[in-house]
Amino acid sequence: MIRVLVADDHTIVRETLVAALDASGECLVVGQAADGIDAIEQCLRLQPDIAIVDISMPRLNGIEVVRRLRAELPQIRILVLTMHQEEEYVLHMLRAGAAGYLRKDAAMAELIEAVRNLGGGGLHFGAHATRAMAMQVQQARPMPADPYRDLSPREREVFHLIVDGLTTKEIALRLDIGVKTAENHRQRVFAKLDVRNAAELVRYAARHHLID
């Protein structure tokens, strides 16, 4: 029989969870903890096969509990059971060493399946968590370079004034800056966009739909 410890500070949630796990006949709940410190102490004493851990807990949050358990009792499989569904939580817990992640409103059948999977040495991630991991992998592609967006606000102003056909002197006058400063901005804009003159700059603006 798989031996399970449940750590959750919300009494009603914890008790309904424990009742359902015990009733499943798949596992035996050997301990219950209402905060993070208690969860670690009970794990050290009871050495369960699986620890079901909530993230938001008093005294020590679930993220730290998972880290410490991984360091001190690496044989315990950890299933995160939480209200949080945002990608960042999933990734944090995964990095900390969790073997499973489920939302608390998951159907009981899925929770039992997760316990069975972890008990057999496997992993179990709910639909939300799986999606979060997929998004992370897909988003890791670098964004295509856009030199226009790398211009400073002032350089962007100068960019548009050049596009509008103003000379360096006129730009200086318009922006109330020195001609030399305006020329510097102009050169930097040219360099950042890799163009040689105003005509090429206008072509760049047209190609990138930057002209009103």
């Binding site: 919300h10 009603i12 949630v13 309904t16 969870l17 009742a19 359902a20 993230i55 938001s56 949050n61 993220i63 730290e64 209200m83 949080h84 945002e86 990608e87 960042e88 939580y89 944090h92 608390k104 409103d105 159907a107 009981m108 964004m143 967006r149 606000p153 962007r156 102003e157 548009h160 009103d212």
Partner: protein, 257 residues
């Protein structure tokens, strides 16, 4: 002659007296200003703390009660005989209602103050924020690594980014926003937010009063000033909007997860 010198002496004494009064008033004024800033910072912190507590209570209290309710409905459903189709339908509808209420509770809680900011810190909160605005592509560039930030600084940066994204969608009809957080020199943190929206006449926007874009921007500037920061706004109609804030890096580390 002697009456003249007596008059000069009286005048000098009077001037000294006035200067002393002036200095005293100046000191008083400076003290009052410090007090006002201190009070304004306290009000801001108390508001954020209240939001944090209500958000947590909603998410972890009400939300989890709903979860427990759903679980109990599941247990009852599992014990019903196969023939009790009506009962099963009713329970299923009740569960769906509890689920919908749970989603509402989550949204309300996030609206007040996303817990991710307190649980995982500014970087995770900004990444979440960048993904969560419908119809807006947000590119986020952060220093690697982001130094540990004081709670106030993290909250302030998050709130400014949140307001900027909301403005970009609601007022500027932007489709792309770039947020760049960087460290400048020793002890300054900068956040530069640029959108590709329709921009606006800044003076008009700032004068627009307490509602909409103007009020939001004015409030943003006030809050940044409260924490000894600087806010710089740039915009031209048709050419996007740029918010740049600089904040002193306060070194007290927040408790990292």
């Amino acid at each position: 002659m002697s009456t003249d010198s007596a008059a000069v002496q009286t005048l000098n004494r009077r001037i000294d007296e006035l200067m002393r009064q002036h200095a005293a008033l100046l000191t008083q004024l400076q003290q009052d200003q410090r007090r006002t800033r201190h009070l304004a910072r306290s009000v801001w912190r108390i508001e954020e703390e209240a939001r944090r507590r209500i958000a947590r209570e909603l998410h972890d209290g009400v939300g989890q009660n709903l979860v427990a309710l759903m679980r109990q409905l599941d247990t009852i459903a599992a014990q019903l005989p196969v023939t009790a189709a009506n009962g099963r339908d009713g329970l299923s509808r009740a569960r769906a209602l509890a689920q919908a209420t749970l989603e509402d509770t989550r949204s309300l809680s996030r609206l007040l103050r996303p817990q991710i900011l307190d649980d995982l810190g500014l970087e995770a909160a900004l990444r979440w924020l960048a993904r969560s605005v419908d119809g807006l592509q947000v590119e986020l560039v952060l220093p690697e690594p982001l130094p540990p930030l004081h709670d106030d600084t993290a909250t302030l940066l998050f709130r400014v980014a949140q307001e900027a994204l909301s403005n970009a969608v609601r007022h500027a009809a932007a489709s792309l926003v770039r947020i760049v957080v960087s460290l400048r020199g020793t002890g300054w943190l900068c956040m530069d937010i640029v959108d590709d929206g329709r921009g606006c006449d800044l003076d008009a926007a700032l004068a627009a009063g307490r509602d909409g874009h103007g009020g939001g921007l004015g409030g943003m500037r006030d809050r940044v000033n409260l924490f000894d920061g600087r806010l710089n706004l740039q915009s031209t109609p048709g050419k996007g909007f740029n918010i740049c804030i600089e904040l002193p890096l306060r070194t007290t580390a927040r408790s990292e997860p």
